[in-house]
Symmetry: C2
């Protein structure tokens, strides 16, 4: 197992333990709602965003106790966004990580509410985080809310994405969608650990630039996987982008050029790490493995 694989596995285990503590027990009322929240939260996600929180934390030698709740909060926000994006009125997906999506396993009303509850809980998790100074908690809450909402965040990106369906959009539009839809939360994940580390402005800027490029890379490879892999391999319905006539890096550039673009974006991500020299090896590995991922 590579260093990154081991780090990633440990991170997933640790963040899942924190999530288990923070989420309401399935035995508490309303059970149906809490089961739905837990179903989607513990459905075997890659924990890519918590990994990024912990990897940036490691770069700055931050004690894990200072970042583990924020990592869990980011994963709650990510899970909420998947639940709502999968709804019939949105992307209408029945399958996620090889399992029925929340509104299929439970029902649509419960899926909406489970998403809402995870969204609120994420902010409470940070507000109550006794390991962080009060001003740092507030900065994290403010930035997380911005990364979640509109006009700078994920919700804005999802809206732009929906509005772009069945339309011709150009490369700048596509990048704008993804800087919001996936980029904002990935950027926050990286920044949050630097903020908890009370990093210098220069360090924070380098981390932010790295995460911006990594977020784009993540999206380009996502589009490539949707176009080239089977539903079985992805654990979610493949070929959805073409079916919904979505503009993607593949539809705009073709598979070959999109693959090249992925390589160039990875190089840009790695270049932003020069600032940290060899201290950033783990982040470099994350960029490499994002480029070569198969699911």
């Amino acid at each position: 197992m590579s260093d990154l694989q081991e780090f990633s596995k440990n991170t997933a285990r640790e963040v899942e333990a924190v999530l288990d503590k923070l989420l309401p027990q399935a035995s508490a009322e309303p059970k149906w709602l809490h089961e739905a929240m837990r179903w989607s939260t513990f459905a075997g996600g890659k924990r890519f965003r918590p990994l990024l929180v912990f990897a940036v934390g490691a770069l700055f030698d931050v004690p894990k106790t200072r970042i583990e709740r924020t990592a869990a909060a980011v994963e709650m926000i990510h899970t909420f966004s998947l639940i709502h994006d999968d709804l019939p009125a949105m992307d209408d997906d029945d399958l996620r990580r090889g399992q029925p999506t929340c509104h299929i396993k439970f029902d649509e009303a419960t899926a909406i509410l489970a998403g809402d509850a995870l969204l609120a809980l994420a902010f409470k998790a940070i507000a109550d985080d006794g390991a962080l100074e009060t001003d740092i908690r507030l900065q994290l809450i403010s930035e997380l809310a911005e990364a979640t909402g509109t006009p700078q965040g994920m919700v804005a990106g999802q809206q732009l994405d929906i509005l772009s369906e069945n339309k011709e959009i150009d490369a700048a539009d596509l990048e704008r969608i993804h800087l919001h839809k996936t980029g904002a939360l990935i950027r926050f994940s990286a920044r949050s650990a630097a903020i908890a580390a009370i990093a210098s402005e220069a360090d924070l800027a380098a981390v932010t630039e790295f995460a911006t490029q990594l977020g784009l890379l993540f999206q380009i490879t996502d589009d490539l996987l949707d176009a080239t892999q089977s539903t079985d391999v992805l654990g979610k319905t493949a070929g959805k982008d073409e079916e919904r006539r979505k503009s993607t890096y593949v539809s705009l550039y073709g598979i070959e050029r999109a693959s090249e673009l992925a390589g160039e974006t990875k190089a840009a991500a790695v270049a932003s790490l020069l600032h940290f020299a060899e201290r950033a090896d783990l982040l470099r590995q994350i960029a490499e493995s994002t480029l070569s991922r198969t699911a």
Copy 2:
């Protein structure tokens, strides 16, 4: 115009000005989303929760600058909950305050996203509130998240409400639903101003008890209005409760006994104000006017 009417009108104007500043401009992208958020936020609500924030603020002589953002945040959470509750998968309402609901005026995906964005923005509004000490902002965010989510908050109440449809439930179940569904946010509204005032434990307890009774009163009168008033008067579809076979104070107790219960609950609310003697006149008037409201 009574003192309360004037206070209420001024509060609505002031909170709407703050909301206008905090919400993204309709001219910013994605416009469609921001228009939807503004449509539902400025659809002519009574601003009952901000009124409660400001009235408790007045009781403790808190400068309005210390509570106006929290009042706006509460109204954002309330608006988010209305947008999501009106969705086809939930209460499926086409009409709210005499106007098409968000998913009718815009579309279902946009309504889901507009609600999500308002939810995130509410926490940002408080996190960025420079008028409050950092520890107070964190307490407000934590309590607001709890009042919004589950197991203690509004989302839990909505889930319990949905699960109770077409079922026989008893008085204790009904009260539990409403202590969560409407009660939690009303309780937070009152508490938030006391917290901003750095009120004593005894004062905070009295305010909390008042708001708990006021929340129940609000729900009993809501049920009475749904059963007795026309769609035209209410600005929302009347008679929905019976149509959906919901257990309400009217279905459980009948109109006569439910009206008596409203009077008794008002009396309990007013009794909790004895602690403040005549300083609480405005809150007393709010309880009276909630009992006698016609819309």
